[in-house]
Symmetry: C2
Subunit: 275 residues, 2 copies
Amino acid sequence: MNVLLTGAFGRVGTAIIDHLADREEYEFTYLNRSDRQEYDTVVADVSDYDSIRPAFDDQDVVIHLAGYPEPDGSWDDILKNNIIGMYNTLEAAKDAGVSKFIFGSTNHVVGMYEVEFAPELYELDDELTVDQQSPRRPDSYYGTSKSFGEDLGRYYVENYQYPEQFYALRICSVRHEEYDHPYGDAEHGVDAEKWERGSSEYELKVARMKAMWQSRRDLAHQVDCCLQDDDVSFDVFYGVSNNDRRWFSFEHGRNVIGYDPQDNGEEWDAPPESQ
Amino acid sequence: MNVLLTGAFGRVGTAIIDHLADREEYEFTYLNRSDRQEYDTVVADVSDYDSIRPAFDDQDVVIHLAGYPEPDGSWDDILKNNIIGMYNTLEAAKDAGVSKFIFGSTNHVVGMYEVEFAPELYELDDELTVDQQSPRRPDSYYGTSKSFGEDLGRYYVENYQYPEQFYALRICSVRHEEYDHPYGDAEHGVDAEKWERGSSEYELKVARMKAMWQSRRDLAHQVDCCLQDDDVSFDVFYGVSNNDRRWFSFEHGRNVIGYDPQDNGEEWDAPPESQ
């Protein structure tokens, strides 16, 4: 199975590489805006159709992660990289006859539930559940653009039948390899440089991450479920580990594609002070 | 109440003008890409923020209809006029502090139900109902862009609180004034120039229009319901008359904003041959 991975070297892409690239049944091609010494890379930008189109020839699958990756994106960032970039990527997949499309969507498509219900939402006994039937409530241009990407993917599947299968993964929080746990990292997390240990902000951030974490192996396993599936034409799944505190439901993914996460944010204790 | 109407001179805009412009409580401003001799017009293009922004000062409401109006729009048409145009219009409303936003969305946000279930869907006894909880299934770039506009509007309401109220009207088929009935007109309909009378194509087209029609007075009444409402923050309503054949439900609009359509496509007989 030939698999094209766009935005290959981000947090999500590298989790896929780390856990799936060695599997015999998959032959990966990496597409990224910049290259990495250790990998053969198609250097191309999804906002430029002509630059990405050749990489789609002879692919069976595209895993589309390229785009502006955070909810702080300005309208210009999002329009170029996520809206136009999504159109270009679907067009290239259609024109090249790529049959399966796995889309890196985001929990920010429904991020306003968190804005409304935090911080109670982070507690172990909070009962709110957001699932694939919950109305979309984006919290950012970023979240709105991913919702648009889901709609556009559905249109391509149902109208053009290329791609034939489309999976939207509303990924929660995947961390860098060095910090693959809810206590985070210097860039995104709850480290002592940004948040004072023991402060209420620190405790909230930790509780949030214990709810939102998707471990790198769980993410890769979920992508693997999509790669192996033959039945879905269009569907939406939440990407989250088996966290006691989660408010996003992964039951639909378990039922439809067999997603069976191994990790639980609750299992992590705070790292020692010296770390 | 000061009301700015964008795309004022299209089929939907003129229905609003015909039925609401004389009402004492409303003071309309018309914004359109081209002017009309009989009206004072702000000539401006929603794809150009600077051209539209001054018209939003001192408005209480914007009714946003401007954009590419049909599902045949190319990506370039839709990106410029509907996606960027929607962003510009919401930004202008936010910056000017306009509190109410009525958005001309479309049934094409969920148009794939028709593609899947026609022609049985057009029959009087067909039981499919599409309502505001049905998953979105756009049938075009156009439908996808209107779905995006709904999401973006919800984001503005929930994040910026400007506008404070957002109504998405998924309008079905509003006809020109001269042809305000399900037997259509020369441009869009079931006239003898395009469809042979008595042919199966003609009968199907008539049955479809009897299901999809929203009379001009029902459309204007629905907009009036939104103008008068104080309670909605964000909601989606189908714009359709009280047609026996309809598959889009207007019950939610009846319950929430008091939409009470007067017309029914079934009441129309075929016009005489000589017409």
